[in-house]
């Protein structure tokens, strides 16, 4: 168990770097507390797997340091770091039985047979693998195999951190739920630091206490699921999290006031005048209501999801999506909308203006 600190971490897969795009990871600073459950969230290619592999020691970063309990481990290999990692696709040792697969990491560390036996049985019990322990691992289904991979990561009780690299990709949807809650339960039971990489927001938001959102090799926001939803610090967080995502509309800022066309918008923040190459306003569909006055919109499409209606509208600056209760009355053609100022933010060059 340990606290993990990443300091000014950057990584590039190229030998020389001249422009921003050459970096897979840029200026990452994170503090992960001992025993926490964290998620790394971002679309494919945002650098989250790179970051994970740097923490586990499979990749050495181009710049920066990794500290475990304030001790520099940047030059140590995965065994010395004593970590466990579960990969996206099941990795099993084909020729071994399920039991031997689970025992393998313990055997390699020279543990006595009795100890191995009790640990393996315990983990097999937890993952419901007990009935297949003596079977050949290669005969199992994809999710059975992934359970073995999980088991091999969880069987060692002394690890500093357990990392999951999109571990549920190959699992059936209904089993996904079961395994996900199992992981959560496990975290509460063994209280070990866990880092979970995923591109699925539901997975990240349900698993983690804190979510790190990544975009183009950079961390755009670290926060609780509620933070990410209510106060996105970057337009990317706004439209990546939430369904549908945040509405982002171009706006004008003059003398500390925000305008869409000539409509003045009241926002949560005080606006300082600064020079931005682009300024935008962000508002989640949940916080928009129809009103007598405000921004004029035309209704384009209404879709009913059961509990909610998603109303697609168009204003002079672009599309605005609105989420409202199914029971609510929807105007038919043109209407005015107003924004809840508590949840209306302005963004300068994609970052929140504070």
């Amino acid at each position: 168990m340990s606290k993990i600190t990443l300091k000014e971490l950057s990584h590039s897969y190229l030998s020389t770097q001249s422009k921003k795009d050459d970096w897979a990871l840029r200026d990452v600073d994170i503090d992960w507390k001992d025993g926490g459950a964290y998620a790394l969230l971002g679309p494919s290619g945002c650098g989250k797997t790179t970051l994970l592999n740097i923490v586990s020691g499979l990749i050495k970063p181009t710049k920066g340091k990794i500290l475990f309990n304030n001790e520099d481990v940047t030059n140590k290999n995965p065994v010395e770091r004593n970590i466990a990692q579960i990969f996206q696709f099941p990795v099993i040792y084909d020729t071994m039985t399920v039991y031997d697969n689970l025992a393998f990491p313990l055997k390699n560390r020279g543990m006595s047979n009795n100890e191995i036996n009790s640990k393996v049985l315990e983990i097999a019990e937890m993952l419901e693998l007990k009935s297949t322990l003596s079977n050949k691992a290669s005969g199992l289904t994809a999710d059975g195999k992934q359970k073995i991979s999980l088991g091999r990561g969880l069987v060692r009780t002394d690890v500093n951190v357990i990392m999951f690299d999109e571990p549920l990709t190959v699992i059936d949807p209904h089993l996904k739920w079961i395994l996900r809650s199992k992981l959560k339960e496990l975290h509460q039971k063994i209280n070990r630091t866990m880092i979970y990489v995923t591109h699925d927001q539901t997975e990240a938001l349900t698993f983690a206490e804190q979510v790190v959102v990544m975009h183009e090799g950079q961390i755009v926001q670290i926060g609780t699921p509620v933070d990410l939803f209510e106060k996105p610090k970057h337009t990317f967080v706004g439209h990546f999290i939430g369904s549908p995502g945040m509405n982002i509309l171009p706006c004008k800022i003059s003398k500390g006031e925000v305008y869409i066309d000539d409509n003045k918008i009241t926002t949560h923040q005080k606006i300082k005048d600064k020079n931005f190459s682009k300024t935008e306003i962000g508002i989640r569909p949940e916080f928009i209501t129809f009103s007598k006055e405000g921004i004029p919109v035309k209704i384009v499409k209404v879709s009913n999801t059961g509990r909610h209606k998603i109303i697609e509208t168009k204003c002079s600056k672009g599309k605005i999506k609105i989420l409202s209760k199914s029971s609510n009355e929807i105007p038919t053609d043109s209407a005015f909308v107003s924004f809840n100022k508590e949840f209306t933010y302005t963004y300068g060059d994609d970052w929140i203006i504070e």
Binding site: L58, V79, I83, T95, K136, S138
Partner: protein, 288 residues
Amino acid sequence: MNKTVNQKAWFFVIPVFLLVAFNAIVPLMTVVNYAFQETFGNNVFMWEGTRWFKQILQSDRFHSALGRQFLFTGIILVIQIPLGIGIALSMPKEGIWVSVCLVLMSMPLLIPWNVVGAMWNIFALPEIGFLGHTLNDLGFDYNFTQQIGDAWFTTILMDVWHWTSLVVLLSYAGLMSIQPAYYQAAEIDGASRWAIFRYIELPKMKKVLTIAILLRFMDSFMIYTEPFVLTGGGPGNATTFLSIDLVKMALGQFDLGPAAAMSLIYFFIVLLICWVFYNLMMKNEEKS
């Protein structure tokens, strides 16, 4: 699934059937014909039954050629398979050296068999060959045209040089298909280099190695051109392998009956061993 029955489909099979008939079945049947009869030419045949088979199976000459053949194939398999795997493991996995290695490895495979024999013949000649001359200069009494041990040594060395690359290329293909996550997982599990080889690389190479062993078995068991050009089967009969002996019997002595019987026996030995080996490997596959 429901398949429609349509007898016209046979028309599609006929061309292939004719092709196979003319290049395999008809010649083979000619051999079968010879194997059971005696002929003195002029298309006059006399029925001999299984006489030639009995004669071959009881002849010391066949036994010793078969023995030499098994010894040779055994030795080259024992050398080439581990050596090939070893080279494949030590080859680079990325960068420009990959293509350099692959091209260098393919070179011996591209040389015609009789050229390989001729090359090694000249290379190994005790007076003028680079290998032969050097060995003698170093104080070894080396002469592959006179000494049995030297002849075997040279033949095996030639075959290893010519064919190890095939094992290397197949093993390398097998290795390259292993996803990096396997190595990463093994690293995290604290596996030793040996354990990685034993539990990841070897199982993943199993299929290509089965093919490599089969190909190397068949080719080496039927080897003819290279030793024929290199040693001519000598000194004495020391490197007269089955196929060389067969050609001697058929074309040298013109004993067509016994030669045909020997061909069939030879053919069945190859077929039987391949069949048994392949099934054993695949049976394990199903179990796991």
